[in-house]
Symmetry: C2
DNA sequence: CTGAAAGCGCTTACAG
DNA sequence: CTGAAAGCGCTTACAG
């Protein structure tokens, strides 16, 4: 039944024999759980080196009942999610965990299923779901049932540990900023939400328009199957649709990438930003301030959120945090101004 | 010794009892290795559902001797590495593996050590190292000794399975493009290589200048500890250094992000691109074509490379591939032109 | 400080 | 098609 020795890497057993000590002794120098005499410790260390021994995480995990792996599920790899992944990864590593990232496209459920199954077949401690808003909640919740899950979303869900990055509020404030400048209304190129539902960013935009009692233009939808780094491509063509409304003076875009594309499209159409049309994004990517004109946008707490989601997962008692750091807020730059005339 | 039942999730054993079948039967419906009668299969499935059973990957891994996890080590999360991670992840998933990503900063070896140790303590099949050029080879190779490793680098290493994305050639061709336009020489803002060594992109630039017999300006170094998405910030300040040389007419930047920052800095200094100074990047990020002016750059085979590195890891016999697809090559846009006069 | 033994949850020949 | 048993590599009480 046992595979021939050479097929498998050396085990603790080989090390023990090589070092002339018992199995538990090897284990002890590995874990440091119990003191081991210097002499034996050195023998063991030398034997490990000679054999090229590497501990088998699966075996260790089996015994200890849990494995230091945390799964991260993200709908795409945009600036924001990359930031959250990075900060969650850093926090996880500091806590002794390793992070496994699965990009699960809410618009490609067949592949998504495979991805999730592969992820969930791993011995993981729990799962962090980024931009939870974009998933069809029931499906995902069912799949994850029984596992510790922490989510980052715009609103939070009472049934799950969650961290709130308030996209909806950000979108509302951004829209209010444009209205306050004197625009009669604000158009919107929307970031895709879950199947058939608007993203909270679209809801926040709508909130502001309705509260102000101004007309609500039909939002322009971009192709939801675009890859995360291709949103900029969606911006340019959407300009054609925007320009059908001659009253256009201000656009709020579902993220900075889309805004970059829209600005480019407007320029190509002979319009200037912000003189003819004001444009705002959301995310505050590093390039936003370097664009010409520098982009008005909204800084979200991505760095904070990743780490907070990890805390929520590991320490449920202190859960359900809400972004409150000073890095959250409107960033007014050069791409928005008063309407002409 | 056994932990109280309620502390641990249900096992195959619980399912077997609940379903009134034997242990191997449950295992068989799980793996599909052997046919199971419809009646029992249904009983088992129902029991699993009732109990919320989820297979324990660690146990499975232990038995099978290998675990479907592949580690990816990357120095940062820039556009190129994000692309490679994505394509490797996709290929891995299709092959039934899950991918674990560790961002390991070549300039922060203390943290790097922890990261690597956590990663290597996991039961992984092998490791893919992205942008291998940026690491201090000996250290890393020693750590990874004995594990299957595949690398993506500019040159390849005979001791390791590797995939070549020829940065050096790309940098050379880009520099040649600028020289061919009539520039007397080309300045360089360099992308950080491994400690104390130039990155292949810098070498390629130097190759071209030396081959052309033109003077080689001192390359401008950016802060190597910058995060991957912050390179754009390095571009602007480097303009001050560039402008010390009054003969400046062309700059090749170590990546597109740096080029964006440099273009911004030049504009801020009252110079126009490309009339006063030509600027080229390397990577061809999605934004390169949307920038004003659209950036001349070099498209590298990131998508291909990630998948190829996975193949090299899993099928060493067909290893050591070299980028050859049609997506590899110079992309001339608006940011480069002939020198004035 | 050290060793013999049991057990983590699962899969895989083996024998029907 | 099905069940009893061994074993994957490691850790952890237990007994000295």
């Amino acid at each position: 039944m046992r595979a021939p020795r050479d097929d498998r890497p050396p085990t603790i057993h080989d090390v023990a024999r090589e070092a002339g000590v018992s199995l538990p002794t090897v284990s002890r120098v590995l874990t440091g759980s119990t003191p081991v005499s210097k002499k034996r410790r050195d023998q063991v260390l030398a034997a490990m080196k000679r054999l090229g021994y590497r501990p088998n995480g699966a075996a260790r995990a089996l015994v200890q009942g849990r494995q230091p792996i945390i799964g991260i599920v993200t709908p795409d790899v945009t600036y924001g999610s990359a930031q959250m992944v990075r900060s969650a990864e850093r926090a996880a590593r500091n806590a002794g965990y390793v992070v496994t990232v699965s990009v699960i496209d809410p618009y490609d459920l067949t592949r998504a299923d495979t991805s999730l199954d592969v992820l969930l077949a791993q011995p993981i401690v729990g799962v962090i779901v980024l931009d939870f808003d974009r998933y069809d909640l029931k499906d995902l919740a069912e799949k994850l049932a029984g596992l510790p899950v922490s989510t980052i979303s715009s609103g939070g869900d009472d049934h799950l540990r969650h961290v709130v990055v308030d996209d909806r509020r950000a979108a509302r404030e951004l829209t209010e900023h444009l209205l306050a400048l004197g625009h009669k209304t604000v158009h919107h190129v929307s970031f895709p939400g879950p199947h058939g539902h608007p993203h909270p960013r679209e809801l926040g935009w709508r909130d502001a328009l309705i509260a102000a009692g101004v007309p609500v233009p039909t939002p322009i939808q971009i192709d939801p199957t675009l890859e995360g780094d291709q949103y900029v491509r969606a911006g340019r063509p959407s300009v054609n649709e925007l320009l059908r409304d001659p009253s256009l003076t201000a656009v709020f875009c579902g993220n900075d990438q889309i805004a970059f594309g829209v600005m480019r499209g407007l320029t190509d159409a002979g319009l200037s930003v912000p003189q003819d049309v004001s444009v705002a994004g959301i995310d505050d990517e590093p390039l936003a301030e370097f664009w010409g004109p520098a982009l008005t946008t909204y800084r979200l707490d991505f760095d904070w959120a990743g780490a907070a989601a990890l805390r929520a997962l590991l320490q449920p008692e202190e859960t359900n945090e809400r972004a409150a750091s000073s890095t959250f807020g409107l960033v007014v730059r050069d791409s928005t101004t008063k309407p002409k005339g």
